[in-house]
């Protein structure tokens, strides 16, 4: 039996309790440390950085930055963190000069984790990196990265295929709407990415300038040919009068839980909906897309991320700032397993871990993009929708959702927080 990371963490917590470790020894735990991407705020004269922060409220060092490397020369910060299957840490980036980076980690002579720095990778002109996943094409593993800006232009967007060893670009998957025939599948502003067997799905979200265009489809890519083969429209209500802007996507699959029927789940950032697209693996065909969650009906907006533990799926909704929880085995249907976890506006990424005493916790990063206030002449206020900028990480009891503590990065460090990832890797089982 192989245990998931989450189970390992849980068991580790239990073992610590059984062994009765001293408080000092318990402080040496790293399961509760998070990697965070921090955004410098121009009006507060701070720099973007990548940092390690303690997130266990039971620790004397709760909320402390334990290691930090700044990005002084980049206008825009790094964006999303991902560990490769071989334990290498990567980050996508919003700055055209560094749309994808590998972050160096090591340990000093006391065993303390140290961020050594980061190396920006050659993306062959692809910009505004978003999500990463590792999967195989014809038996060969590759790193797939969505670039919302692609190689530029009004209808840009690409999926970069990278050699997992050398980080070199193997192929750029592009299909501009303006350059393909009528009805042919296109890729535009891709952000979310997920895969099952030989089918990959990416979303069409929004042009990086937030003005030029907004997408409303999913694009299916054949992993045998690395070519787009189908677009699926996921648009219904338009509460903002924008296209739906599908953002994160999860290809629910039996490897997550044996009872799961394969299907794509997609969150639409401006439609406020979660969509389901059934998949028949035998015929390799997708069924009719349908809304399985309406934010308008449920008074939530800007659904973002999918995360899973051994038995639950979690979906963050930036407004009002909640994480909803569902039974993993019931996917692709969304069967609630309990009340919402009430975080802060901008509820976005999350990690799972145990406290020093063995309590199961969830840490939620609450912030989307618009960190500043235009009234303060802060250029980071893109203001396409208000109040997505709490700048906090809130810590909750995983079972009850009770809010235990928070770290307010703007108050404490004069920075926003754009992403959180477990220091030891995922800390969760399924992401996307």
């Amino acid at each position: 039996m192989k245990l998931s990371k989450f189970t390992q963490i849980t068991l580790t917590g239990a073992a610590l309790m059984v062994c009765g470790l001293s408080a000092a020894e318990a402080q040496n735990r790293e399961e509760s440390q998070g990697m965070v991407l921090l955004r410098g705020l121009p009006t507060l004269d701070t720099k973007h950085s990548v940092a390690i922060v303690e997130l266990d409220p039971e620790s004397d060092r709760f909320g402390e930055i334990l290691s930090e490397v700044e990005q002084p020369d980049m206008q825009h910060p790094l964006h999303h963190l991902y560990y490769s299957p071989n334990g290498r840490l990567y980050s996508t980036g919003l700055d055209p000069s560094c749309s994808l980076a590998e972050i160096g980690l090591s340990r000093d002579a006391s065993g303390t984790p140290v961020i050594e720095g980061f190396t920006c990778l050659d993306t062959k002109g692809q910009v505004v990196g978003e999500d990463i996943m590792w999967t195989t094409s014809n038996g060969q593993e590759y790193m797939f990265v969505t670039f919302m800006g692609g190689t530029g232009g009004d209808d840009g967007g690409s999926v970069g295929v990278f050699d997992t060893q050398t980080n070199e670009v193997v192929k750029i998957i592009e299909a501009r709407k303006s350059q393909i025939g009528e009805g042919e599948p296109y890729i535009m502003y891709p952000h979310g990415i997920s895969a099952f067997e030989d089918r990959m799905v990416v979303t069409s979200t929004i042009h990086p300038d937030m003005v030029t265009g907004v997408g409303n489809v999913l694009t299916i890519i054949d992993l045998n040919t690395l070519e787009p083969i189908e677009n699926i429209l996921v648009e219904n209500e338009k509460p903002l009068d924008f296209p739906s802007s599908p953002v994160e996507v999860l290809f629910a699959r039996p490897s997550m839980h044996a009872d799961i029927e394969p299907a794509i789940l997609a969150n639409t950032m401006f439609g406020f909906e979660t969509w389901k697209v059934p998949y028949d693996a035998s015929s390799k065909t997708f069924g009719e897309a349908e809304v399985i969650y309406s934010g308008v009906s449920n008074e939530t907006a800007v659904p973002l991320e999918f995360y899973g533990t051994e038995d639950e799926l979690f979906i963050s909704h930036a407004l009002p700032g909640v994480v909803k929880r569902y039974e993993l085995a019931a996917l692709p249907e969304l069967v609630s397993t309990g009340p919402d976890i009430v975080a802060d506006p901008g509820a976005h990424h999350m990690i799972f871990f145990t406290s020093a005493s063995g309590r199961d916790l969830i840490a939620i990063q609450n912030n989307l993009l618009n960190l500043g206030n235009a009234a303060d002449e802060d250029p980071t206020d893109v203001d396409f929708i208000a109040d997505l900028n709490a700048h906090t990480i809130t810590i909750h009891d995983l079972e009850t959702g009770e809010r235990i503590a928070e770290v307010n990065f703007k108050d404490r460090y004069n920075k926003g927080v754009d992403n959180v990832e477990g220091l030891f890797g995922s800390g969760f089982v399924h992401h996307h």
Partner: protein, 372 residues
């Protein structure tokens, strides 16, 4: 003339003051220069009263290679832990002072900062510091009285100075601390596998096939073939797991009638009978023979054991018992039932764990160059 006399007197006074100061000052704690350990090896903790320092490492290295640690001044730690053999001795069981052989095979000393926090095959030492003094005093291993050893070390000006700089006084605790520091610094992280993990080198198709088998528990329901190695040997370190006693296992060597106590001798728990420490597989190609008693001479023998030679006993690891790539083939034997090609692939992968830089690192070598 007076000026010359005064100059010589001043120089003599300065020299005397330097000598007195050097002999009375406290220990020096110079951090290990350029220390860096792979992040993916995971968390490690060094005892607060024994940090990794250049002085402690140097002292520990000298002690490790010095036969002064044995009662007859002929056996050093390095006698059974040879660097070129990843600090094993190439024997099934190490020789005892009485002319026979010890009960167990000499364990490799690599990456001891990580993995299990209990030492020896049966886990009888709860720390490296505790472990370090036991072979010295064991009548069949080094047969040294610690008080006598301290006396011998105190007669050496060089050792007095090294102890003074590292810890202060010559004592049994400080001998243990120094040896532990040397052993903790034996980090193997530059094998082909490490270079592969860092993206610096590619594995061959056979090595990659072996790596995938190593990392997989067989599951015929989803056509997943596996060598089941990772259930006991962790992904990056390839050692046993750190938490609690997870790093000890009964891997199916003996029947209940012949099963040695193993970890049960330490815990008193019958469920631990026949449990032994899961060793690191780093440099495994140079550490033959294999198992706690050195019963297998080659990696092929080891793979044959896991493939169809598992002996069932009450405490056999269930992870081993249920790992079968061809359960439909019948139950005459217990094992992985892999193909010869799959076995060759795993062995090819195991060879990628050989770290030549570790095996030849001059910092880990005999500082006496042949004599004490």
């Amino acid at each position: 003339m007076l000026r010359v006399f005064l100059t010589i007197t001043a120089a003599a006074l300065i020299a005397a003051a330097w000598i007195i100061w050097d002999r009375t000052r406290g220990p020096v704690s110079t951090p290990i220069a350029d220390f860096s350990a792979p992040f993916i090896f995971g968390r490690f903790a060094v005892p607060p009263d024994n940090p990794l320092t250049e002085e402690a490492f140097s002292l520990g290295r000298h002690l490790f290679y010095d036969p002064i640690l044995s009662g007859n001044n002929q056996v050093a730690c390095a006698s059974c832990h040879v660097q070129a053999l990843a600090f094993t001795d190439g024997l099934a069981k190490s020789p005892s002072l009485s002319g026979g052989e010890l009960g167990f095979s000499s364990m490799s000393l690599a990456n001891l900062l990580w993995g299990q926090e209990r030492f020896f095959w049966d886990g009888r030492a709860a720390s490296l510091e505790e472990q370090a003094l036991l072979p010295i005093q064991h009548p069949d291993e080094m047969d040294q009285d610690l008080d006598a050893l301290i006396g011998e070390l105190q007669t050496s000006r060089a050792y007095r100075k090294m102890f003074r700089r590292a810890y202060g006084e010559v004592s049994a605790d400080n001998i243990a601390r120094a040896l532990s520091t040397f052993m903790r610094m034996l980090i193997s992280s530059d094998s082909k596998y490490d270079k592969y993990l860092r993206g610096e080198e590619r594995l061959t198709a056979q090595e990659e096939h072996g790596r995938k088998l190593f990392m997989a528990h067989p599951d015929t329901k989803v056509s997943l073939r596996g060598g089941n190695c990772i259930d006991c040997h962790s992904q990056f370190l390839t050692s046993g797991f750190r938490d609690a006693l997870d790093g000890f296992s009964n891997n199916g060597l003996d029947s209940d009638e012949d099963l040695p106590d193993g970890l049960m001798a330490v815990t008193g728990n019958p469920a631990h009978k026949g449990f032994f420490k899961v060793p690191t597989l780093r440099n495994i190609a140079v550490t033959a023979p294999y198992m706690h008693d050195g019963r297998f001479e080659t990696l092929e023998d080891v793979m044959d054991h896991y493939n169809d030679g598992i002996v069932v006993s009450d405490t056999l690891s269930p992870l081993i018992l249920e790992a079968d790539n061809a359960p439909q083939a019948g139950q005459q034997t217990v094992g992985l039932r892999m193909t010869p090609e799959e076995i060759d692939a795993i062995i090819a992968f195991l060879h990628t764990l050989t770290d030549d830089a570790f095996l030849t690192n001059p910092q880990f070598s005999d500082p006496f160059e042949g004599g004490t």
